[in-house]
Amino acid sequence: MSPIVEGLTALLDPTVIFGMALGIGLGMLVGTFPGITATMAVALASSFTLTLTPVQGLAVLLSIYTGANFGDRIPAILVNTPGTPAAIATTFDGYPLAKQGKAGLALVTSGFAAAIGILVSMVVFSVAAVPIASFALQFGPYEFFALVVLGLTVMISISSQSLLKGVIAGLFGLFLATVGRDPITADPRFTFGFDVLSDKLDFIAVVIGLFGIAEVLDQMLSHNKLRLKPVASLGRWWPKKQEYKTMRKPLIIGSVVGTIVGIVPAAGGDIAGLIGWDRAKALSKHPEEYGKGSFEGLVAADSASTSTLGGALTTTMALGIPGDSVMAVMLGSMLIWGLQPGPQLFADHPALVASIAGIMVVSTLVSLGLNLFRIRGLVKILDLPRNYLWASILILCVVGTYATTTDINTVVVMLCAGAVGVVMKRTGFPAGPVVLGLLLGHLAESNLRRALVIDGAAGFLTNPIAAILLAFAVLAFGGTLFGRIRAGRKEAARRDATLVV
């Protein structure tokens, strides 16, 4: 049997179908509820899925990922609050449309744009993943270290307002990865005699703490009596023929932008949505309508943010470098199942790769169907009292973490990570680079030390792939730094001009 047929047949297993249904339902719910991100939901679910087979577990995790990308648009349109960061750009035109009494139309249009975005990006995954993986098979220590540097640099560049804080967060992640035994000599480092630390920090515990507990603690700190009320008048639901026609161009622009952004390591739907919206506006015949309730703007933002999914999946599966923060968590789960994402995955488990693509496509189509017919019901979740939510998340984080090792000390690590996470959140340090640093720290250290022993630092210049990857890292960091300095100067000039007037 061909691996593709074998992989797709695995999806007919009732437990896999149940896993997908569960994942889509959970994903839609967490997406709809502002404050719970897809990363947090996948991190929590990853502790549940460790006892399942890889296909069953991936069915749950990938379906949450897809479902959340549909659910998060609902509060963005109805209450101007993105359900997850990926729906930030949806608020630009979605909410003005809702205020004009076109919420129903905006929700349906957004659902279609999101689905088309994911499906287009999955075509790219199907076409590009195998060649990229074959190319990556040539990678040695120099290339792997350079790849880690590129991934970290890009995530630092895009995830923080302050580059300095982003770099420090990435270094903190790399430092956390040194806790445990040395990857080459097995000497203990920073274990302080605790067994729980001797086998390095539990990745899932740290991720659940940084994304789950930290979010709950932050919400507790800043919660107030103000209740967001969704726009109640949904109006007409289905677009007219003429309206469909105007959406074609922004749909193409959004899908192309999103797929490219998705392939870049660590760049997610939030960045893609903003870039896609901006590019579609620049190329539109009616740029003045953007931000005031433009269907073109809504379609461009949604298709761009969701089409990162296929790109992120390509980078994660083909290179072993997480395409975004959800993929970083998923990569951790795959390692626990004994699967090493990267070029070897395509050679050793081709059927699993086909299953992954199948899960993404099926969950997208099912999510679209649910999105079109169950939107009214999902809106009610916005009324769920916060105290129930906080208590539920806390107990799920505790039990979920305990399930990974059945050791109560892992729960202590998770709670400590949560405390560190809330301090980081309140002080402007992004959690993404910490997770990436922790995940890739061992890979970076062992490959760098091997590379330096083999041929010294000069090897990075004589090795073309490593040199190109490092050059991209420098360009990404330098470009961001230059852009921010320029934006700062513009802002200062604008302030001076205002003072003179």
């Binding site: 009494g101 300095l164 430092f175 000497d187 800043s222 208590a391 039990v399 309140r426 030390r449």
Partner: protein, 194 residues
């Protein structure tokens, strides 16, 4: 011509507004939504130079401690050069340098914007402190009693009480139902010993 344009724009905006209202949303609802937007904007956390300075100084101290800790790592075979101490030393040295830069930036540049963060409040700090205390007590109770169910129900009751949950639903049905659900899922279905 310039004098005419604003009035034309105003008129067209008014027309667009009445058209939007005609499509379904009421004027009352629009006013409510706009009021809500203003309230949300007022809750935005403000930049703070003092906070940035505190972060820089704390990080400098922590990274210096990390550097000392890195050099103190005991290795079984002293090889010198690129040994198990080398990588943590590199990381802590770079972090120390960047932390000092952060201190300089906090003294010379305007503080960073705190977009996406809301202001904290007194009730929030009370909730946070109680959650930390309850979590510590919960871990101790679970470890000492070697029982998951009772400490978990007590934790949820206490969490609901601290967060203004009152009545049978919040203090009885929800905690017992949730712990039963979690126990069934993890212990019975997934066979994880709780």
């Amino acid at each position: 011509m310039n004098a005419v344009e604003p009035s034309r724009r105003l008129a067209s905006e008014e027309q667009a507004g009445s058209k939007a209202l005609a499509e379904g949303i009421s004027a009352d609802e629009l006013a409510l939504v706009e009021e809500m937007e203003r309230e949300v904007a007022a809750l935005q956390a403000k930049p703070s130079r003092k906070l940035e300075r505190g972060i820089g100084i704390t990080l400098t101290v922590l990274s210096a401690a990390g550097l000392i800790g890195s050099r103190a790592i005991t290795v079984r075979t002293e090889t010198g050069g690129i040994d198990p101490r080398w990588w943590p030393t590199v990381i802590c040295s770079v972090t120390l340098a960047l932390s000092l830069m952060l201190v300089v930036v906090s003294l010379t540049k305007p503080p960073f914007e705190r977009e996406g963060l809301e202001v904290t409040n007194h009730d929030g700090w009370r909730r946070l402190m109680w959650t930390i205390v309850l979590s510590v007590l919960y871990i101790v109770a679970w470890t000492v009693s070697e029982n998951f169910v009772v400490p978990s129900v007590v934790l949820l009751v206490a969490m609901m009480w601290v967060n203004d949950g009152r009545g049978l639903k919040a203090l009885v049905f929800y905690p017992i139902g949730t712990v039963m659900g979690v126990y069934l899922l993890f212990h019975t279905v997934l066979r994880i010993p709780l």
